[in-house]
Subunit: 469 residues, 4 copies
Amino acid sequence: MKFLPAKLERKLHRLKKHSRSPLKRKLDVMHENARNKVFQQSCDAYKDHKKSEYECRKRTTKMAGGSRETFLSDGSFHQSVGRVLLVAEFFAMMPVKGVTGKHPGDLSFSWRNVRTGFSLVFIASSLANFGLSLFKVLNNPISFNSVKPIIFRGSVLLVLIVALRLAQQWPNLMMYWHEVEQGLPQYPSQLAKCQMGHTIRMVMLVGMMLSFAEHLLSMISAINYASYCNSTADPIKNYFLRTNDEIFYVTSYSTTLAMWGKFQNVYSTFIWNYMDVFVMIVSIGLAAKFRQLNNDLKNFKGMHMAPSYWSERRIQYRNICILCDRMDDAISLITMVSFSNNLYFICVQLLRSLNTMPSVAHAVYFYFSLTFLIGRTLAVSLYSASVHDESRVTLRYLRCVPKDSWCPEVKRFSEEIISDEVALSGMKFFHLTRKLVLSVAGTIVTYELVLIQFHEDNGLWDCNQSYYS
Amino acid sequence: MKFLPAKLERKLHRLKKHSRSPLKRKLDVMHENARNKVFQQSCDAYKDHKKSEYECRKRTTKMAGGSRETFLSDGSFHQSVGRVLLVAEFFAMMPVKGVTGKHPGDLSFSWRNVRTGFSLVFIASSLANFGLSLFKVLNNPISFNSVKPIIFRGSVLLVLIVALRLAQQWPNLMMYWHEVEQGLPQYPSQLAKCQMGHTIRMVMLVGMMLSFAEHLLSMISAINYASYCNSTADPIKNYFLRTNDEIFYVTSYSTTLAMWGKFQNVYSTFIWNYMDVFVMIVSIGLAAKFRQLNNDLKNFKGMHMAPSYWSERRIQYRNICILCDRMDDAISLITMVSFSNNLYFICVQLLRSLNTMPSVAHAVYFYFSLTFLIGRTLAVSLYSASVHDESRVTLRYLRCVPKDSWCPEVKRFSEEIISDEVALSGMKFFHLTRKLVLSVAGTIVTYELVLIQFHEDNGLWDCNQSYYS
Amino acid sequence: MKFLPAKLERKLHRLKKHSRSPLKRKLDVMHENARNKVFQQSCDAYKDHKKSEYECRKRTTKMAGGSRETFLSDGSFHQSVGRVLLVAEFFAMMPVKGVTGKHPGDLSFSWRNVRTGFSLVFIASSLANFGLSLFKVLNNPISFNSVKPIIFRGSVLLVLIVALRLAQQWPNLMMYWHEVEQGLPQYPSQLAKCQMGHTIRMVMLVGMMLSFAEHLLSMISAINYASYCNSTADPIKNYFLRTNDEIFYVTSYSTTLAMWGKFQNVYSTFIWNYMDVFVMIVSIGLAAKFRQLNNDLKNFKGMHMAPSYWSERRIQYRNICILCDRMDDAISLITMVSFSNNLYFICVQLLRSLNTMPSVAHAVYFYFSLTFLIGRTLAVSLYSASVHDESRVTLRYLRCVPKDSWCPEVKRFSEEIISDEVALSGMKFFHLTRKLVLSVAGTIVTYELVLIQFHEDNGLWDCNQSYYS
Amino acid sequence: MKFLPAKLERKLHRLKKHSRSPLKRKLDVMHENARNKVFQQSCDAYKDHKKSEYECRKRTTKMAGGSRETFLSDGSFHQSVGRVLLVAEFFAMMPVKGVTGKHPGDLSFSWRNVRTGFSLVFIASSLANFGLSLFKVLNNPISFNSVKPIIFRGSVLLVLIVALRLAQQWPNLMMYWHEVEQGLPQYPSQLAKCQMGHTIRMVMLVGMMLSFAEHLLSMISAINYASYCNSTADPIKNYFLRTNDEIFYVTSYSTTLAMWGKFQNVYSTFIWNYMDVFVMIVSIGLAAKFRQLNNDLKNFKGMHMAPSYWSERRIQYRNICILCDRMDDAISLITMVSFSNNLYFICVQLLRSLNTMPSVAHAVYFYFSLTFLIGRTLAVSLYSASVHDESRVTLRYLRCVPKDSWCPEVKRFSEEIISDEVALSGMKFFHLTRKLVLSVAGTIVTYELVLIQFHEDNGLWDCNQSYYS
């Protein structure tokens, strides 16, 4: 009777991949015990942590109470971008209803809404303005510099149309964000919750402030310039003749048209800046979600976690990837317009930088504007590259998974991270990563070098040139 | 007696990779049951779906009946390209017999066929024309612009020869397509079946229409131009002296030669356009096969499928990859000629764009032609990049395979997709992906920038220049 | 009694990764049987094949008999390159003893050998010639074109020194080749054995013939040119004053020096061509070894092979990779010199191509030389890229391994192929792949475009320019 | 009774992945035995090796004894860089206390330390100097060449500030190095221990010697130049007016200011060279750690090692990777400044190289300086690329793990090496690998080609140009 099991035992042993010597086996057992203890401890620690966290959260919510609750962000992207979108709607972009609501379910889009109407009217107005610009440009010799107004107005128009289409998808997108956010690990503290919203608001504020400052400076410089090349006695008329030359190229001067032109300019400038800010904001949101996941993984770095833990994290990671993909599909045209615009305007400004400035006001405006442009481009690039960077950070924690916790789920997780390229893109033609920033910078520097090498004063500041933007 | 199995049980337990605590084990059992239920349901759903699909198909076929059957596509690539190839044969390309037959088995190539004869005669005629062009070009100073006729006629000649060689392989290739198509999951509906054929026919139609329009405009502009630089009193003679200058550079004017030259021009233009259309059509076909597979995977996304399901799909995917490879081997020379041609002609046209146009007819023709050229290049690039894009989409569905269905087969499948680069190529020197489009666009823009920067009017429109394409 | 096994059976069943329904199990059993049968058959087929192969080989060897044996190649790299190296030794390169021996064990290097002495003398002579060239160039204004002689002579000198160092390593390298070749699967036929040797000899022959033709043409054109710019009455003196201007820049004309200069020119030209041929030959050898392995895998494509089969193939593949690495370490400096030389000379020739030729003899020589240069560069690029291409082909056969033969060894094999980049390299700075060819071609075309755009006749053909390469 | 186990046996057999024929099984058993023997032998060899190693080490330490102990390096990075950092501190960089201590625990940073004070004073002084340079440059027309002084002084200033910040992190970084080094396999001999320290000291010595030689030559050439464009009668005054033109552009000549200017120049030149040397030293340190690990793997190449061996090595590799990451975060700004500086200065020097030199002293200085610059850039590039190269070498040993030792740990190890990109970086915008060197070289060559093509003497050597670097 004893014979049988012994035989079986031997056979069973040989099934184990590597037959081990008794000494090794003992060592393994010792390790196993030690590991189990550590695992138990980490499990207990996890439970305690979770418990205290939970209570902390309960307390926070209680403390917050009635009136304060409205101020407290729940850390969702929907709430964080609410006011940003409200400002955009004031400038005729993305006419979605309910952007400041508490729940993404309140979002809706309707063609009959007054915002949509306003947006459509502004698109029509922009189209007219674009047509006038196009007419003026085509009736003059074309150069790299002279097409600036049509590229400016054309891209604003394109972004407006894309934003309208995006507005229709926005409620669904936000619902998906909401779902993904529900599934993610909880924020460790109220501070962490507010962080994303805070960053988004700061980016919006700083972006808009600088854009406003630039517009003011541009006005001062234009007034200066207009008086310098004064075609009429009226300084205001001079100014408008200058900044809205595409209108008065066709028709004679009229105050109403001048006002309309001014209105168009202000709104277009806002939208031109806003598209960069918008790409930044979406990037911040997506990167924040990856960071939320990474923070949880960081807490359990090097610990012995059950396969189900990894499975859960993998699915959460996958969900953020899908979210990233959907957002990219929705905004990639805006990203593309934003990037090519920035590239083109930097090149044009660098071309101008080699010419002598007609006045000090011009020089100040010019260098401020160039710095702002380069800074904004860098900011967009780096913020959008951060999505990719954050998505790779996850791998760092997976690398520290101990030998005994290494299971097929962790393997699958790490392989998926390695092979996926999670990043915002310009219509899938290029992915926004740090390497892209380098190659873009390289291109600009090369262009500038060639410019310097073969420089002659191109007279870009003469009075007949289209001035504004 | 009870002792033994208990001991064995323990041993068997230790065979399981991770010894689990009883609580966990219970959870696992619960999960297992839940999963089994879901799996059973999905299996039933699958069966029901299949059944209804089958009946639907039966009905459709019945409804179609006698005469309608001929119109109903079975969704095969062979049937979809039948008429496209027939048109090509009319223009002396790819002389294969049986292209409109129902089964690829009817295809055959013979050197004695009248189509082959016609093709060979046309190749000889093209060769003569090419020789004349070469003679004229070599007897004049060479420049980037002046070699245009020999590049045009040379690539047409090359494509003709490649097409003849391709015609010999076509029956075998179509048989392989047929085999691969037989193995693929069924189309869900008759609509899905027709889609590929429809797209192919539309691409052919639009491509040929635009090419025809461009040729007409070119004729109008040439007549205009001929009368402007009138060397003789006869306008028709003027026109032919202009458009076939390579012939009348050697010999004096004769109506027969002029007719031959015209015939050559019309046919060459068709073939020059057709090579792009052909690359697009093959790309559409390959992308459609990947899409067919992806649609099936999409239906079962996130469900618990048996390993055999994945094994089957993997083999189908592999077959399409091999098909892709074989097609690429067969047509990659055409792809390369098509791409380099487009690149060269865009550069030449951009060089010309900086010169002042001699007349309005020229300007209209020129901008139409440039837009057509860029549009066609973009279309070829994007359609051929779609093969690569579709081949990567499969991965998205594999990412959603639930934990319990994750088996070695799925792993192997996903690893193969990650490591393979499935795409059409230009003789393996470059793969046709979206990144390529960007780098090509970047190259063209850089060239244009350098051109603008150092522009002087090169007098490309003077009367002594070779005019036609 | 029946209870126990049933229980065990259930437990054992649960060990199988996916519990399957009875219907599925039956299907599996059916499949299993079918597979076993196929496997048995393929095994038998394999044995039969091996047996017949063996007998065939025995017969071949017998048939060959005494005298024919010496002509029969055993397919080893050592035997294939024997005569090629002998020719090189005649031109003072790679002084290894025993290159035409039957076994690599006969190879040896000694500093006292007469070949080594000849090689050292020639290096000294080349150094003197290089010094004279350097002196002449430094005493004239430096330009992209004028440094041609020092780049030509400098790289020949560098290659000579590297070849001397390589000669010391050659016996060891050949022994390693021999070992790797011993481990590889047998050639299927005598024809396959001879193929590599045949290709190597053809490449050597064609390369040397063309190089000889080019040298003859260069002499004719130089004689022509010398008479055109005749400085003295003696045509032979004129010729030598022209082709060895670096010598007679320092000293006055003397026939001995002229003979020395001519000797140097002939030898340098040979070595300059030989370095390309050598890179090609090594590439052919390495690619042939990968092909030998691939052919074996192709024979068993899609069959059920034992893990030990895959393990064996993996180790053989690994050995070829290590061989590739060692060869690359040994010759990568030659590869780098060869590549940069070709790139530089193509650029210089293209620069010259824009100038008007002084005579028809020049034009013929120039275009022949340019075509030869571009053709040789392409040949080196494509042959060396073929090593990388062949190393990737292996993957294609691993993709077709059936589900049941998919074992950890196959997985490891395929992962190693995917992650390794097996290719010759230019000092690890660049790997020789098909993509490189494209980027090099792109660079040259861009350079040519810029040249054409800003072309002015640089007077590169005037009489005071150093003429000979 | 016999029935049961037989049945079980069959079942157990079917658990094995591939049922094998009896013949195969016997072969397997034979292999298994052979393997076990080899394994036992290699284990014994390992133990013996370890033992002898241990004794050898004990003896060495004993032999070393009291006084010699201080000279004997323990092979740690901290001890190796001690004197290098001491020199840096003398030049006001990285004011850390205890750099020459035996243990990294002795390191400390304090704002109140005299070194920190000196460093801060020098930063303030540099800032003043930078301001003066900026003032001079902005008051003159800007060109690629004229901004040289501000780029030189600006980057020195930036590096000084970064070094101050780095000084604060240095104690922690060194402690982490210490920990990683403790965990690594022991050095096989005392020689191996000293190697890294030796290389570091040699790089420092050679770098500083060459930099000193260059500064001397620059002084001689400046004195020469100053006397040539003598503005005053006093040669010393002339010299200082020339080399510190940014000071005397604002104020009139004074000996104290001249001394300050000279002091600034000497220190700035040192720091400008030191940043390259520093990047090299860190690279050498990191590469040495990878090499230490690789040497251990090399010793056991192809042997049967227990999974725990691989697990240990994997964790050690991971630790070096993390160390690499932390060092990169700390110094990547310095790396970036160093690289862009080198690139800019090479371009400027090449631009100057086309101009005729005013004197022989200039020519000598110029070519020495250019060679030194290119050599230093190459050295930095190759040393920093060696980190990446060494990190990939590990893979080579994993490829040779025998079939039976192939375990999940080895698999995980090799996959991690494949997917990680371990290298120093320039703020993550680019990784320092050999491919980067090629692309940088390509960029420089292209720039030089364009320069040569469109060269006109830019008069960069006239007397009004800012002279000193």
